[in-house]
Symmetry: C2
Subunit: 208 residues, 2 copies
């Protein structure tokens, strides 16, 4: 993967993909930079730069691009065609929602199991995904051969659980808990932070 | 609110707040720019610029800042001390999780009701929040006097529901559905997009 691409660009690629998928649903086969620029709120120049990275040979200057080709190149670039196995820790309301969410397949994520401390749900399953006891975390991580974990635990135990995950071989954490996590530099932690999204939302409301 | 602040800055403020809250939990009362810079992965210069906006008179050059003062100023700036009323449309797995989430109070968001089409859940309530029929959307929005809506519906009906929300007086939409929404320019739409966060996450994993 090209490492010169910026995080802002990476964040835009799924948005391009959504726009292109809705064009395809409307039976539109060709798209120009102007339409994509308007849809994403960026310049045409930016659209050309962005798409040059994921789909370098798919357009001639001045010609519209093929929607299907762009969709395939974006999916490939975003890794949606390969599958990353993950476990989820903390099967409360949000954890259950994520375990049940059928859309992750499309994004190359396969949640293979949940973990919780509550004995009334361990041994059960959600949408075919087993829920194991948190006390078996270490064994199960090794048995399942996963390196990615999604964390949706209560705040006060999150850091302790993250330390255990890392000790058991987890290399990347998608964190849904709104706290600041300490972790070694070689571990990838991506925060999915409702508070950050809300802060931007309220700021934009207040500007109006 | 100062409009010269960038969206990147706005997104950082809840992260500062989390770091400061965890310092306070550890009984640490003073903090310098170096620690905050390390925690957020930005330069000390950037920390000073960021905090100058929300808390302009809280530090002397070279002196550490007071943690409590910064927490209060950040909460005030982010609007966490006022309450924004909102409705939620689509009480499936994710919608239920958001209705049940107790942390929104801390962020100044109060979800006052849910809406769904399923007659087996309308008339019920989740954590004291009533679930109304989607067919009463227009009346209830006017009755409740809300201008903010959270959308967690199935993909194929989202645009139609968003159109209805806007016609009923909703001015701002926090969208959890991974589709591209059409809307008038005067409506604020903030996308809380799992796909975008996942794209960044996988990109960072693949770089390692």
């Amino acid at each position: 993967m090209n490492t010169k691409v910026s995080l802002k660009q990476i964040e835009r690629y799924p948005v391009y993909l959504n726009v292109l998928l809705s064009l395809r649903n409307s039976c539109i086969n060709k798209v120009n930079s102007r339409l994509l620029a308007d849809a994403l709120g960026v310049s045409e120049e930016q659209v050309r730069k962005d798409l040059q990275i994921v789909s370098p040979h798919s357009s001639k200057p001045g010609c519209p691009r093929d929607v299907d080709t762009l969709i395939n190149h974006l999916k490939e670039y975003l890794g949606y065609n390969q599958i990353n196995k993950a476990i989820l820790v903390g099967v409360g309301h949000l954890g259950s929602a994520l375990l049940s969410f059928k859309g992750f397949d499309d994004y190359g994520l396969d949640i293979v199991a949940g973990f919780d401390i509550d004995p009334s749900i361990t041994g059960e399953s959600i949408e075919g995904k087993p829920i194991y006891s948190i006390f078996n975390l270490d064994n199960k991580i090794k048995e399942l051969g996963v390196e990615v974990a999604i964390v949706t635990t209560p705040k006060d135990v999150t850091q302790e659980i993250v330390n255990k995950l890392i000790n058991s071989g987890i290399k990347a954490i998608w964190n849904f808990v709104p706290i600041h996590l300490e972790h070694p530099d070689n571990i990838v932690v991506e925060n999915m932070d409702l508070a950050r999204s809300l802060a931007v939302f309220f700021h934009r409301i207040n500007k109006k």
